[in-house]
Symmetry: C2
Subunit: 174 residues, 2 copies
DNA sequence: GAAGTCATGTAAACGGTTACATGATTTT
DNA sequence: AAAATCATGTAACCGTTTACATGACTTC
């Protein structure tokens, strides 16, 4: 079967434990969104497709009066997820507007410092969120490895921005 | 004016010196594509739009019989680029399928090593390309700062993958 | 002569975001 | 009573990729 990576995010989340589309969105926003975001506009239609394909199964489980559909992985869904995990990852993409502006900064050299600054602040903000997740969530297993990656790579990014901002101030680039 | 970031990639490239759509694509593939890719399907229509908006100007400059349109920035285009450079960068996005698979690897623990391995090989490949660009292109000014960022961040990524692969082999995660 | 490169462009499809709509429950 | 949260979904739009089409010149 050929599914979009975002479909596998859903399968992966349901592998941990059954949950609603709303729960999936909340969990994604708390975890993988830093390297794979997902919106309601994807999650709900994708859940329908996965259900039709027999990879997940939804059951009405109203919580305190609110209608609610909790999905769980089927055996076929577990197999599909395992197959995907065994395949070589293909997608490595970055969109970094700060690097883009820095690259073109010869056309307006006095903007370079602000671009590096914004990049530093972005990574600092992510770092704060990840540290929050580390202390409140106390993740284990492979998610904790990925979280450590996030924290350490952000630390590296912040350090690079500080170092390069310093070099700019010294006039090393012009 | 509200343009897509990819439009600014075009403006930025033309700020260095006038060139054709084909040249822009070649240059992008050799430089910013690691953090901002662009395809012909974007470049040619975007050049038309920018031309209509008066930000670039095209002139027929056939090279050895082949028809060819060389674009250059207008004064308005230079202003537009400078305005954009002065604005705070907004887009910071990463899509990393290896981290995604690693995150879900509790569902198939023996796949984790291969995902980290693939990530390491990806960054090694990029590193080789960037080092090639460094030796053959000898970039200066801000592009060289960005290139150094690319090289050093890739080195960090490769080192992280090696370290974490080692920890996995030692059975530190399960 | 074939393959590769220079060069321009379009159309379809895809993945994803944003905004909107709805409505119940819970918290302030 | 109002604001926030839980919960589900759709429609429009946007940016991007991929595939295709065309054709001339250059290199092997």
């Amino acid at each position: 079967m050929e599914l979009s990576p975002t479909a596998y995010v859903i399968l992966g989340m349901l592998a941990v434990h059954p949950m609603s589309g709303y729960d999936i969105k909340t969990t994604v926003d708390y975890s993988v969104r830093f390297f794979w975001a997902a919106s309601y506009g994807q999650i709900y239609p994708e859940l329908s497709r996965l259900s039709e394909a027999g990879l997940v199964e939804g059951a009405a489980e109203p919580a305190s009066g609110r209608r609610r559909t909790v999905y769980r992985l089927t055996t076929a869904g577990q197999d599909e997820l395992a197959d995907w995990l065994a395949q070589e990852p293909q997608v490595f993409e970055t969109r970094d507007e700060a690097l883009l502006k820095l690259f073109f900064a010869d056309a307006a050299p006095d903007t370079a410092a602000a671009s590096i600054d914004a990049k530093r602040r972005y990574h600092e903000a992510v770092l704060a969120q990840l540290r929050e997740i580390e202390t409140t969530g106390k993740p284990e297993g492979h998610p904790s490895v990925v979280l450590r990656f996030g924290i350490e790579s952000c630390e590296w990014m912040v350090a690079w921005c500080e170092r390069e901002a310093g070099r700019l101030r010294e006039g090393a680039v012009r």
